[in-house]
């Protein structure tokens, strides 16, 4: 075996990917050639060095997110009805049921992502990039940052003062995040014009956070807060009524 041949086979040899038959001439060459011996040594040394590379384990919150998907907590009664239908359909060997069931899980992933972003913004104290209670300050701030104009409302009279806004990326989509407040509760409204994977309205509760989702005028909306479900529903219907 020539050095050229040995070099070509060296990685597979070191990686134990050669059959015994293939490995034999390589081994013989490496033992007899000082250069190829060194090349093999270098690779062994590299392997040891690479063992010091950090192994990035999944952050705990990521694990929780995905584990929690197993249980879809509170979807709309309509969707729940579908779930029952889905179970029946699966039992009957129907394909539709599987699809609905799958969509519910994907829905839950998106709902988790939205909630995680809300929680993260609170945790990092990075709530807003434009801080103002004036809709005429907040709305123009999005110009040039988004290719749609998110609806921004002054809801102070209704008891939901505006805090400000920021731009967020969730699941590869760009959202305008509008932050409102009720008492000490922060409410984030996420708005995107991206294609919405979830056509139906949604009410969900995840670990004490309430979420509502709907689609209006080609934009999809998510509102998230630890505010109680009734007041959040009131907030959501205010936003929806303003949009008409």
């Amino acid at each position: 075996m020539t050095c050229h041949e040995a070099i070509r086979a060296l990685d597979a040899y070191i990686d134990d990917e050669l059959s015994a038959q293939e490995a034999m001439p390589v081994r013989a060459h490496v033992r007899s050639c000082v250069y190829c011996f060194q090349r093999a040594q270098d690779r062994e040394a590299l392997r040891r060095a690479l063992r010091t590379l950090p192994y990035y384990g999944a952050p705990t919150r990521l694990g929780i997110t995905i584990a929690a998907r197993g249980t879809v907590r509170s979807v709309l009664p309509k969707a729940r009805g579908w779930a029952i239908a889905a179970t029946v359909a699966i039992a009957a060997g129907g394909g539709l049921g599987v699809r609905v069931w799958t969509r519910m899980h994907v829905t839950s992933v998106v709902a988790e992502q939205v909630m995680a972003r809300h929680v993260n913004a609170l945790a990092t104290q990075h709530l807003v990039d434009v801080r103002s209670s004036d809709q005429h300050t907040v709305k123009p701030w999005f110009q040039g940052k988004l290719d749609f104009a998110p609806p921004v409302y002054d809801l102070a009279d209704a008891g939901f003062p505006l805090i400000g806004g920021r731009v967020d990326r969730i699941g590869g989509r760009t959202f305008a995040a509008l932050v409102y407040q009720r008492r000490l509760h922060v409410i984030t409204t996420f708005v995107s014009d991206a294609e919405d994977p979830i056509p139906e309205d949604l009410v969900e509760t995840i670990r004490g956070f309430h979420e509502r989702h709907w689609t209006d005028h080609g934009m999809c909306f998510w509102v998230v807060s630890d505010l109680n479900a009734e007041e959040l529903a009131e907030f959501a219907s205010l936003i929806r009524s303003k949009a008409i």
Binding site: T52, Y55, V110, G171
Partner: protein, 173 residues
């Protein structure tokens, strides 16, 4: 394959998926987004997939998710400049074992791996950190086994000099 739940199949490989994504993206935030998206995608295809190698399957999805994000405007990262690669094989006889223990070396190696072109970086991570076989890497990256070998080989040729530079004191040069 007996039918198992999505959680049973995917969750055990979440760390591996994140590690791979983290090395691809080189930052936590993107890695998290990629893994979330990948898991959502995995779920979509789960019912139609029959695989007994869930980890490789998940790697494949993580990889596609990341590459499809790169396709988005403003996200493009130049791919490997193969043609410009030259084989620089050092024929110097070097004693390196004693140097490997050094901490700065570990940091240097980490940075060197991060700075590898993505095509090289991922085969190193899949092989050295995840312990995938050539065949598994070929499946995940969707390239022939010969290409796996040549990428691994070239990646290693690039990394080996990093090991020597740090401690290359008088007795080597």
């Amino acid at each position: 394959m007996p039918r198992r739940s999505f959680e049973d199949v995917v969750v055990p490989h979440l760390d591996a998926a994140f590690n791979y994504a983290r090395w691809l993206t080189r930052n936590d935030a993107d890695a998290e987004d990629v893994v979330r998206d990948a898991v959502a995608r995995a779920f979509r295809f789960f019912s139609s997939v029959r695989t007994n190698n869930a980890r490789s399957w998940l790697f494949t999805i993580v990889r596609r998710t990341w590459y499809s994000r790169l396709g988005e405007p403003g996200n493009r990262i130049p791919s490997t400049e193969y043609d410009e690669l030259t084989d620089r094989r050092s024929d110097e006889v070097l004693r390196m074992d004693e140097l490997l223990m050094r901490r700065e070396q570990a940091e240097r190696v980490r940075r060197a791996v991060e700075q590898l072109p993505m095509d090289f970086r991922e085969v190193i991570v899949l092989r050295e950190l995840e312990g995938l076989s050539y065949k598994e890497i070929a499946t995940v990256v969707d390239i022939p086994i010969d290409t796996v070998i040549s990428r691994l080989s070239r990646a290693r040729e690039r990394l080996i000099p990093v090991l020597v530079t740090v401690g290359a004191t008088g007795d080597h040069k």
